[in-house]
Amino acid sequence: MKYLIRTKWWKWLTMAILVYVVIGGFLFQVPRLPILNETIRVLHFHVPMWFGMLFLFLASVIHAIKYLSTGKVQNDIMSSQLAVVGVVFGILGMITGMFWATFTWGEPWSSDPKQNASAIGLLIYFAYFILRGSIQDEQQRAKISAVYNVFAFAALIPLLFILPRMTDSLHPGNGGNPGFNAYDLDSNLRKVFYTAVLGWTLLGFWIATIKIRYKLLLEKMDD
């Protein structure tokens, strides 16, 4: 994270990738499929949000662990700000998904196991922010919320990766629905999709670095 704050080149990379993703995502040829039709393009915007969220939460947990082992305030700031951006990505993923589901599944919320699990996952992180808000003492807040962050991430993993697989899901690739591989014979989607994951994740980290720098400055002014 320190490296990302210090350097700049990856921001240019992010911009280039996102321009490519937006142009490619809206204009490139996509497979013609019944029901899905053009909505297949949501793949480049909806799925990367979840990837971005997971990477941001992972970075947040890593900094929480770092805080617990070193006790440096900046690690706590990084951990909390990364979680904020992660939650924003999660909400965006949920909105894009519900928008897509309205046109393909017929309703925004169909009690799909993945939808339910991600809603609960977001609740866990909202609880994290409420926990942060409810402790006055700064050191105590940092410590307790770091502990909860690790605990919450451990609960998130079975929630997002194990439980939805146990029941049928409406999502492509689950419960007998054709997945990525079946649609994408000429790998056109893949080219854009993988870069989209990278691009949106980097954008998330970019936003996080700005928020972290702002908080670090506030911290400096307090001293």
């Binding site: 609880a127 307790i144 502990v147 609960a155 194990i162």
Partner: protein, 227 residues
């Protein structure tokens, strides 16, 4: 060799002492246990009055687990809340990892007792439609141990905040859902007459989630205790 034996002797003595201390506190104050017993009965009678006449096995199962969830969160919430003013004198004497082990053991047993009582009262009022009862009890024990250990850890976190009881629910419910979903779906299969072979994979997942939670409590608890 004698050093190791001596060390484990000390550890067992401390664990024993901590568990007996909790038992004594509960025995002397009495009202928390009496309160939770009253809570169980009134919860069950309310649900009996609400559901009587049209309850089917699936509803029975869902209702039973919901009652367990509320009993468990209320019973375990006090585990660290009661330590606030007492903790100071053994704070320096005993390792935090032993304190959490003692708490996990004590509240695991406490939870199992409460659930046995809840199950008896529940079946008196709403019947006992379970078709495969052996595996049902196994799943019940695993699920409730998961609930009690997760809530014990959450209680240690929420006892540090200003609004203990509300924070307990906010922090606890989302974290507990993986365990609860696994246990409820297992239990539903068994209530409807499935065999243990139908749920083996789920049961192993449930067990491993429990192990993860206990291991994490063990690692993370020292940080909350010392702050």
């Amino acid at each position: 060799m004698s050093g190791i034996i001596n060390f484990s002797n000390v550890m067992f003595k401390q664990l024993q002492w901590l568990i007996i201390k909790d038992l004594r506190i509960d025995w002397r104050t009495k009202y928390p246990i009496a309160g939770i017993l009253l809570y169980i009965t009134s919860l069950i009678i309310t649900s009996y009055l609400a559901f009587t006449g049209f309850i089917n096995p699936e509803t029975w199962n869902a209702l039973f687990w919901l009652i367990l969830l509320f009993v468990s969160i209320n019973a375990v919430a006090k585990s660290f809340a009661q330590e606030e003013d007492r903790s100071s004198y053994y704070f320096y004497l005993i390792k935090p990892s032993r304190i959490i082990i003692a708490k996990l053991i004590y509240y695991g047993i406490y939870q199992l007792l409460l659930i046995a009582i809840a199950l008896i009262v529940f079946s008196v009022f709403l019947g006992f439609p379970v078709k495969t009862s052996g595996p049902f009890f196994l799943n019940l024990i695993l699920g409730s141990l998961g609930l009690s250990s997760a809530f014990t850890m959450v209680s240690s976190i929420s006892s540090k905040t200003n609004n203990n009881s509300v924070m307990m629910a906010i922090l606890g419910f989302p974290v507990i859902i993986p365990i609860l979903l696994l246990a409820i779906s297992n239990s539903k299969i068994l209530v409807l007459g499935g065999s243990i072979a139908d749920i083996t994979a789920n049961l192993i997942t449930l067990l491993s989630v429990n192990v993860i939670i206990i291991a994490l409590s063990f690692i993370l608890f020292p940080f909350t205790w010392k702050s």
